[in-house]
Symmetry: C2
Subunit: 373 residues, 2 copies
């Protein structure tokens, strides 16, 4: 739908050039044919989720109704933004497909790599988990845990941390450098704990057998996957099924670049008010339109770089036909930037009104959950 | 009792030169005045335990009948030998003084630093633990655990491994190099887990408060202590009392050098038969005597380098007066090497007869203990 060319936007990892580079450098593969149930999701049919490793194991498990897992983590630093909601949609999607869902709150990583206290991580995680529930995740059907406090079941707790320690034997310093750039003992332990996060569902104390596990991530997280995949095949004490992964494009920040919790003007938060949403989109959303209305009508806009259009494409306009019309109208100059922005504002605010209502309803339950696990 | 000079034997870390060097390089201190209860033990009055760090905290706790801990570990690689029994005597000594005793089976370290399976570690640990019980340790009054399987209590298990992960933030690569010489990710995790072993008694989930903990070790283990002491004071999430340690001389191997489980002719094992003990002492024990009987009578022997005499001094002759007479007679030439060796053989075999009887009695209980913890 979006024209792919050699121009690569900062948030467009799916452009031709980077795609080839990724495939060549990392050995990930573009997503090809998928079962119909996947293509009901806009992320798949629009290639927002654009690449994978070994997804076939998971597809077979789904087809044959065999057990499989989904693992993902949350880094409890900074505020939750709508970019995070894209990954949350995947949690819900795979949970509904029957995956055993594992979610790690990476509070050890936040402590070791970012210097954040465990208490602060717990507070921030609460906000994330409210969004999970609002997005449709069934908390009672998933294993959500803090890295620092794995389980109320001692056998499980011992097994998880044991795995972290045993995996260390098979890791090399070079692999850690690939994950983190510069390394420190704290970051090394965090990387090994992340590998244990991805692999431990297959231990006897958890699912009890090797099984496919899919890990949905942003492309920047792939070094973690490579580390875990590599050492999982070297350790012979277990018979780990190789991990699968899918890669999601970054949602662009309002002014372009990456959406980042540390730049308040770069994101929409799930708790933003309608007025805040309106202000942010109108003031900050980078436009692919022309400088004047006359020019715009004459030359048309460029939806490929227009952040408002990208938000519609990536998340807020489910209807392909409507999205195609918006794209064509914007490209021709029939649709103005102001009109496009207003359309998006209405879409986001409609979505957030429901989302915030669900968050409110979930509050007591999540608080109970988070301080009891 | 043993003349200290500038001649330093391979097992004699207490000689003048090394002593000063150790104090200067590592900052450990020679043991000075101790309460009478310590001097009832030959290890203290003969300076077999020759140095310490911060022992005063533990002495005060003993005097004031306040809680304190003792932590030590066993590396489950290779056979247990009589050199290990010296450390075991310390476990029993401190247990009787009222210490909360923690003993870690370092199976994670054996896996990561020596490539040994957890199953093999468990088998070897069984032999060690039989010796603990035979030496007088009350298993029911101590917390003996495997590093890979900390606790049947989930809160404790989580807390122990959490500590390992949090400590990582405060460690540096240089510290690991000091501990291990060359480092690998596996060795790093082992070193951090050892630091957690030494410190975790002070966590809320264990003793519940900062308390003095004494760690009896050989001098070669001091880098582990330095690492744990250093990071314990950097981590502000807990209020750790600084660790205390005492340093035991190495028991020399039969032919001199270090007693080593990997050299069968270097050690006496607790399960050796009387004939094996006799053969080993007669055949391998390095003698400080002269080449011929005439020469020995004329010049006398040198007990300082005589392994049989050192075994009597370090472990098998409790009676100071008898030991002094043996030393004087050997030095004068009145006592021959053959007579000295026979005296030691009788002492060891008398000790081992009782020891092996106690081992036999403990077998059912230890097997049950080890495969149920």
């Amino acid at each position: 739908m979006v024209k792919k060319g050699s121009v690569v936007n900062p948030w467009e990892v799916s452009g031709d050039i980077n795609y080839e580079k990724l495939i060549k450098e990392f050995g990930i593969e573009p997503l090809k044919e998928l079962p119909p149930v996947f293509n009901k999701e806009l992320e798949y049919r629009r290639k927002i989720i654009f690449a994978h490793r070994d997804i076939q194991r998971v597809l077979l498990a789904i087809r044959d109704k065999k057990p499989f897992g989904m693992m993902t983590g949350l880094m409890p630093t900074g505020k939750c933004h709508i970019g995070h909601l894209m990954i949350m949609k995947q949690m819900v999607f795979f949970q509904k497909l029957g995956a055993r869902v594992y979610i790690a709150v990476a509070d050890i990583e936040a402590y070791n790599a970012r210097g954040q206290s465990l208490e602060d991580s717990r507070k921030i995680a609460e906000d994330y988990i409210l969004n999970y529930v609002a997005m449709g995740l069934d908390l009672n059907k998933c294993d959500l845990y803090f890295q620092s406090d794995r389980s109320k079941d001692a056998e499980k707790a011992n097994a998880y941390y044991r795995l972290q320690n045993l995996l260390a034997r098979y890791a090399t310093f070079n692999e850690f450098k690939a994950v983190y750039g510069d390394i420190s003992p704290g970051k090394m332990l965090s990387a090994l704990l992340q590998a244990a996060d991805m692999l431990h569902a297959q231990l006897p104390e958890f699912e009890g057998k090797p099984l496919p596990v899919i890990v949905p991530v942003g492309i920047d997280q792939d070094p973690h996957l490579r580390l875990a995949r590599d050492i999982s095949q070297k350790i012979k004490d277990f018979n780990f099924t190789q991990l699968s992964s899918i890669y999601t494009l970054f949602m662009p920040g309002l002014s372009g670049g990456k959406m980042s919790a540390s730049i308040p003007t770069s994101y929409i938060a799930p708790i933003d008010t309608p007025k805040e949403v309106e202000m942010k989109i109108k003031k900050y959303a980078f436009s692919g339109g022309q400088a004047t209305l006359e020019e715009h009508r004459a030359k048309g806009g460029n939806p490929d770089v227009d952040v408002s259009f990208q938000y519609l494409r990536m998340m807020f306009e489910e209807d392909d036909a409507k999205l195609a019309k918006i794209e064509a109208d914007y490209r021709s100059g029939k649709l103005t930037t102001g009109e496009l922005k207003q359309y998006l504002i209405d879409k986001i605010n409609k979505f957030l009104a429901k989302h915030q209502e669900k968050r409110e309803k979930a509050k007591g339950m999540v608080e109970k959950f988070i301080y009891k696990i």
